[in-house]
Assembly symmetry: C2
Homo-oligomer: 250 residues x 2
DNA sequence: GAGTGGTCTAGACCACGTA
DNA sequence: ACGTGGTCTAGACCACTCA
């Protein structure tokens, strides 16, 4: 249930010597955890014990363990110790990017068409969502994004009028709603959900797709300083859009 | 084109004083970049200049800038300097997890049914993919994952027989293919693509869904030490599955 | 050669959790 | 009271880039 510092020292000295010491220690620990020789919940030697057994300074040990902690391989608690973290399975990360950047990055032309940008009465659930007083309307925009003149995203967005009071006056053909909002309200937190759905007849018409075509729907909400800035439904024709990502193990 | 160290000092001393110094410096820099006051390519003061102007030790400055570099906000080059990184737009991260863990995490029962696990001749593209000699067969498994006895994923997987020679002998009702593979071949790199598609008639039958139901398809490939371990198609009924994620700005 | 970041050391003080 | 990690200091040597 506790890993011996002298075992760590043996592993450390048998490792290749070219990399920096903190990196070699990180690699050593990663390896033991990846292969299952050190198991969930086991306690690693304390920093001071590793200072003795490895002959490194505490700052170097600390950096290695801190970065392993940031990477999620170990859990550290001041006053308690360092422990092998629960096995995270093969989780992997996905990057969801700004649609305009993505299109430009492919070397293609991006264009938006604005269906409408308007003020609308907010019903009770929407008021709760945005934490708005009764009677306060909400902003609503519907925009189609084109890549090389092919519709790839229908962006249906509700916006908090208290955090983006000038939203209605923006020209979304020159700057996307996303761009505008991330400028005026530096986003803190966000969440998104990806689903496969069928589009409604109206959505099919705006995206110029057939009724049966499966679509990728991303619902995204972003907060700035703990207040909801915007909630968006981003609908993509399945045949014209996909999310891609890569990941590397720590 | 270059940021003044005394400006940084002014910002630093006007910030709240409770957090650790390296964190306050990180926050300060993040803020300037997020609000656009510091723009892409601008050079930050060197570590030694910040030591003078902030009155902190170089290790503290170094930690702040190193972590900002790891977070992608700045780019550092030894011998050159530290620069504001290219604006990444509002990219956000998605975590794709092991299906069994995910189900268990919801407090639900997970079960797999194995349609088949077998050896198959590998055609030229598959041989190239796995870097196999001619005549070498490939392993192929088809497994259905159930959450509370409802089919949520059809896992169609090709496996490199040279990296997982015992694959055919595994019991995938007790340990998922994913679990097994990540044990025997610690994964290095991976990539995945998410799409919305329609299932084939055979797939519809195995998942017990109607022909027109949109499905979320995740295609995932994982490498271990630069050799492809496995390529999988993970097909989810749109009505029964979605990807969720949260993100925080650095 | 001057300046940069990358790494490392040998101390130090502190807040925290456990006993 | 003790051991833990969290932070910080004031030095140091190195490899690297650029003029």
């Amino acid at each position: 249930m506790a890993i011996d510092a002298t075992d760590v020292a043996a592993l450390f000295h048998s490792s290749s010597g070219s990399a920096p010491a903190y990196q070699r220690l990180k690699d050593l620990v990663s390896e033991q955890i990846a292969t299952g020789r050190w198991t969930e919940g086991e306690m690693l030697p304390s920093e001071s014990r590793l200072v003795e057994s490895l002959g490194l300074s505490r700052m170097t040990i600390n950096r290695a363990l801190r970065e392993l902690s940031a990477a999620g391989l170990v859990v550290r608690t001041a006053g308690v110790g360092t422990f092998v973290a629960a096995h995270k399975g093969s989780s992997a990360l996905f990057e969801v990017r700004n649609i305009a950047d993505e299109v430009h990055h492919r070397g293609h032309r991006h264009r938006t068409e604005v269906a409408f940008v308007r003020e609308e009465p907010a019903d009770a659930p929407v008021r709760r969502l945005f934490d708005l007083p009764e009677g306060r309307p909400v902003f609503h925009s519907l925009v189609v994004h084109y890549e090389q003149d092919v519709a790839i995203q229908l962006e249906d967005r509700l916006v908090n009028p208290e955090l983006a009071p000038e939203y209605l006056a923006q020209d979304f053909t020159t700057r996307t709603p996303n761009d505008y909002l991330s400028r005026i309200a530096p986003l803190g937190r966000g969440e998104h959900v990806v689903e496969a759905v069928l589009a409604t007849p109206d959505e099919c018409e705006r995206l110029d797709i057939d009724a049966g075509e499966p679509c990728l729907l991303i619902r995204r909400r972003t907060w700035s300083q703990d207040r909801l800035v915007s909630a968006a439904r981003l609908l993509h024709p399945g045949s014209r859009y996909r999310l891609e990502g890569t990941f590397e193990s720590p």
